[in-house]
Amino acid sequence: MLRLFKRVIKTGWKGFRRNIGLSLATILIMVIVISLATLLFLLNPVSKILIADIEKKVDISVYFKEDISSEYILEVESEISKIPEVKDVEYTSKDQALEKFIEKHQDDPVLMESLTELGSNPFLASLNIMAWEPSQYEQVVNLLETSSFRNLIDKVDYYERKPVIEKVFSVVSGLNKIGIFFSIVFAVIAVLIAFNTIRIAIYNSGEEISIMRLIGASNWFVRGPFLIQGIIIGFIAALITLFITFGLCCGFDARIKTIAPDISIYSILVSNFFFLFLIQLATGIGLGIISSYIAVRKYLKI
């Protein structure tokens, strides 16, 4: 048994070497397929970071009436932070609001002038509320409007921002759906291409496979070397893809950081190294084995 197994491995390796041209062509196709799997794998954390980044920018502000003291507002703040949908609440006093405004518009003489003309601080104290998810803002606002402190509130600017928030929400869920859809479509195309390449490679050996059967070789003795070739091709393709992935991630890391500072594909790659290599190996070797198995089966029916 062990002798047969060794022989199958040896024959598989020999077949790989003797058909080196065809083997290399199959490896090339496999590299493309595994690269696609890698891309889908890396895009997932990148898109999560991007989406989280957009979501962070969405919040609602509750403005309090002119005469409400900061103690009251801080009490309200602690009430609001108890709402399960609320992720974070931040208090901005009248003075802080003024400071922020001046800081932001100090270079705009018209605005600065009109502020001095007013003579007093026109800003209201406010609470910035962030929910866990964009869809939860509606609920938070409803809770605020039915709460005991609704008389203290001057206005909630949710209604002004509502269209933006809803748009972000629909874009995020849309992006997820499109991502899943394209992942599935690409994966199916890639698998079909890899399968067909291997099938064509084995088609050349179709007659040999039939002869092997006719002179008394068992199915596994015939099939084995082709499966070994599939494994070798998948393994080499996975290794090549790993090198390409590393090269590209190192090369583009700095450029991507200038566009999206939160994203470091290099660190995503390093922290997922083993899992990524496992996915690449599984894609390559899995495709190699399954395609060879199915392609050979046709010629064994004799």
């Binding site: 048994m1 002798r3 047969l4 022989r7 024959t11 077949g15 003797r18 058909n19 050996s205 007659e207 040999e208 002869i211 092997m212 059967r213 006719l214 002179i215 008394g216 070789a217 068992s218 199915n219 003795f221 064994l300 029916k301 004799i302």
Partner: protein, 231 residues
């Protein structure tokens, strides 16, 4: 050893014509250690008969018993064991184009699980017998017709099968090489192996003086102990 019982093989026709009958109710017995020639014109059913014995095809009717084993009731996984008891020389050689002469001959022994030492010893010996020692490392496309045929015979013999099926083994050869091959088959027979030779070569049959079964349009028309080629 081999019992052919009422074998009929019909190939379905296209366009509604009646099916083609390749073999029509054929029966005969082959005892162990016999040299049997099966003769007939092209299309008489010789190759079909050999294909049925090798379980490459299934009969439409009847059965073939190999030592009381109905070969067409065997499962796909049981066929290798049957085929390892048969050595086949195909009309078109059927050598593996991607393997050397040595590897072609060694393949059956490898599939049967023989050790490397046994394989090396036996393959060298058989290549010596068929005169291909110098061509061991050549691929089939580097061999002449006669050499290919001898390589095919070496492959059929290497594992010492109980039966040799030879389908027109001299079909593509000149008279000199033809008798070379026939002498080889007779030698194998004398060493105790049953040989079934399908041919339409009149001279070969008449020179042998062995049992001849004549097929015509799928039927056995003659079965003689020391037969001659009569059609």
């Amino acid at each position: 050893m081999l019992s052919i019982n009422n074998i009929t093989k019909a190939y379905p026709s296209r366009r509604g014509n009646s099916p083609t009958i390749a073999l029509d109710n054929v029966s005969f017995e082959i005892k162990g250690k016999e040299f049997v020639s099966i003769v007939g014109k092209s299309g008489a059913g010789k190759t079909t008969l050999l294909k049925l014995i090798l379980a490459e095809e299934k009969p439409s009717n009847g059965q073939i018993l190999f030592d009381d084993l109905n070969i067409h009731e065997l499962k796909s996984s049981q066929l290798p064991k049957l085929r390892q008891r048969i050595g086949t020389v195909f009309q078109d050689y059927k050598l593996f184009p991607s393997k050397t002469t040595y590897e072609n001959v060694a393949y059956v022994m490898e599939a049967m699980g023989a050790s490397e030492d046994e394989i090396q010893r036996d393959v060298s010996q058989i290549l010596g017998i068929v005169g291909l020692t110098d061509r061991a490392d050549n691929f089939p496309n580097e061999l002449s017709g006669g050499e290919k045929q001898r390589a095919a015979i070496a492959r059929a013999l290497i594992h010492r099968p109980d039966i040799i099926l030879a389908d027109e083994p001299t079909g593509n050869l000149d008279p000199y090489h033809t008798f070379d091959i026939i002498r080889l088959l007779v030698k194998i027979y004398k060493l105790g192996t049953t040989v079934i030779l399908a041919t339409h070569d009149k001279e070969v049959i008449n020179s042998l003086g062995k049992r001849v079964i004549t097929l015509d349009q799928g039927k056995v028309v003659r079965d003689e102990e020391r037969g001659r080629f009569v059609l």
